[in-house]
């Protein structure tokens, strides 16, 4: 039996540019998957979310919080909407024909949605405003997504993913369009809230600073394989030293970037 409150992965999957070959258990409330671009991070998230399917030549299984969501031996594939997983990708993917509030309400406006069946109108509006508040975007409720900056759109996308109160939140470089200050502010508030709500979070990034900023368990992914898994201070010690060196010679730092 898969264990509750953790994600178990056992994957062998070939994609265009790489082979994913991963066997691990993600048990921390906040895990950062760190790796260079093209290491298979996004694909891994899409597999967990169910947007990418484990098909024939692939083999493996995925369990989320004690329930198998995909298993190639039995052909099991639970559709993404029934996994209680929120995903925020780099691309905000807001519905352009709906205003911000309607975007955030999309996942809770569906009567059949698994966990929040029969949510009434007031409760829905309440949830939408509290989510917008959480991401610091209450003033944007009536805007069209077309009138948002990249950073604003990412916040709304985050609020939309959280509104149905998923059990698991997947973040794919979700704050790339925010400047550093806003990112730290949103991330800190978000992390506290997610811990409170017991929503497990897996964040993917290629930025070592991101991985180090949040006290977390870190999984390092290289060429589709898990290179390390453990506390950030240990796993990313090298990366950290490198960053420190660059920061110390800060004249050089600005010219590099």
């Amino acid at each position: 039996m898969p264990e509750a409150a953790m994600i178990e992965l056992q994957l062998k999957a070939a994609r265009d540019s790489f082979h994913l070959n991963i066997e691990c258990t993600l048990a921390a409330p906040w895990t950062v998957i760190f790796g260079p671009s093209g290491a298979g991070k996004s694909t891994l998230l899409r597999l967990i979310a169910g947007l990418d399917r484990l098909n024939k030549p692939d083999s493996g299984r995925i369990s989320v919080h004690g329930q198998y969501v995909a298993d190639t031996r039995t052909g099991l594939h639970i559709p993404p909407g029934k996994r209680s997983i929120g995903l925020v990708a780099q691309q905000s993917a807001l519905f352009p024909h709906l205003n911000v509030a309607a975007n955030v309400a999309y996942g809770i406006a569906n009567r059949i949605a698994n966990r929040i069946a029969n949510m009434d109108r007031d409760a829905r509006q309440q949830r939408v405003s509290s989510m917008l508040e959480l991401v610091g975007a209450s003033h944007l409720a009536d805007r069209s997504p077309r009138a948002l900056s990249g950073g604003e759109a990412q916040r709304i996308s985050l609020a939309r993913a959280l509104a149905p109160m998923p059990q698991l939140l997947l973040l794919d470089e979700p704050m790339s369009a925010l400047d550093a200050e806003a990112r730290d502010e949103v991330l800190t508030r978000l992390q506290t809230w997610l811990l409170e709500q017991k929503i497990q979070t897996v964040l993917v990034t290629h930025d070592a600073a991101d991985a180090l900023a949040t006290a977390a368990e870190v999984a390092v992914l290289r060429e589709g394989k898990l290179a390390a898994l453990g506390p950030a201070s240990i796993v990313l010690a090298d990366e950290r030293n490198r960053l420190l060196v660059r920061l110390n010679s800060d004249g050089a730092f600005t010219t590099i970037v």
């Binding site: 909407g81 990708a89 691309q91 905000s92 024909h97 999309y106 569906n110 925010l178």
Partner: protein
């Protein structure tokens, strides 16, 4: 001007278009999003009326819907008259004949929608029907309009299927293009000119509507990536 034929033609085109949109939206959604291996065959079959001589289609429908087949006999018992040589029969023929003109623009419209929006809707719990209703159709409004206009015009001008399947019964199956044919055959070029000019004008007007692409009329596939923001460098 044969007003009865004009009214009949418009009625046929309107009914056909309405039925086609009801069929084409779910069919196009399946062709765009489905994973079945039958999709390729379905796509080929959908496009078939584009290349098939209308008379071939008309002939087989005539046989299929006539008293020679079980289906034809069953329909005759149900309706009290055979489908061939009736208005309802023409509707069936027109729907099949104009199917690609409805399906293909909608497939193109759906395919142009950013996949990340479809992913987002699925993750938020939308099943296929909700996905079509709340994301695909609103974002492919312009394609739906194009599909409707093309289906309407194509039905308006169809000749081979109507002649084979409908015969030439005034008030039931005599459409404008049949009237035009009769007028030419009877050397009544002045009347034929009226009929032809009516059809021509109508088609030009309607196609202008398609190509004008009224931007704010029904929306349409939109790019949703916040590219302008990256370029502008605006951060919050």
């Amino acid at each position: 001007m044969d007003w009865q034929a004009l009214a009949l033609t418009l009625k046929l085109a309107a009914i056909t278009t309405a039925i086609l949109l009801c069929i084409a939206v779910p069919l196009a959604a399946w062709l765009t999003l489905g994973r079945s291996r039958w999709r390729v065959i379905a796509e080929a079959l959908t496009g078939l009326p584009l290349v098939l001589p209308p008379t071939v289609l008309g002939f087989y429908l005539l046989v299929l819907l006539g008293p020679r087949t079980g289906l034809g006999r069953a329909i005759t018992t149900m309706l009290g008259h055979p489908l061939a040589f009736s208005f309802e029969g023409l509707v069936v023929g027109s729907v099949i004949y104009s199917l690609p003109f409805a399906v293909q623009p909608i497939v193109a419209g759906f395919a142009a929608i950013d996949g990340s929006l479809i992913d987002a809707a699925r993750l938020l719990g939308a099943g296929p029907i909700r996905l079509v209703r709340t994301v695909l159709v609103p974002l492919a409004g312009r394609s739906l309009l194009t599909a409707a206009i093309l289906s309407f015009l194509h039905t308006l001008g169809e000749f081979g299927v109507v002649l084979m399947l409908g015969g030439d019964i005034p008030g039931a199956t005599r459409t404008l293009s049949i009237v035009l044919f009769n007028q030419v055959e009877g050397f009544d070029y002045s009347a034929a000119n009226h009929t032809a000019a009516t059809l021509l004008l109508f088609c030009i007007l309607a196609l202008t509507l398609v190509y004008a692409r009224p931007k704010n009329l029904l929306g349409g596939p939109l790019r949703t990536s916040p590219g302008k923001d990256h370029a502008g460098g605006r951060h919050d």
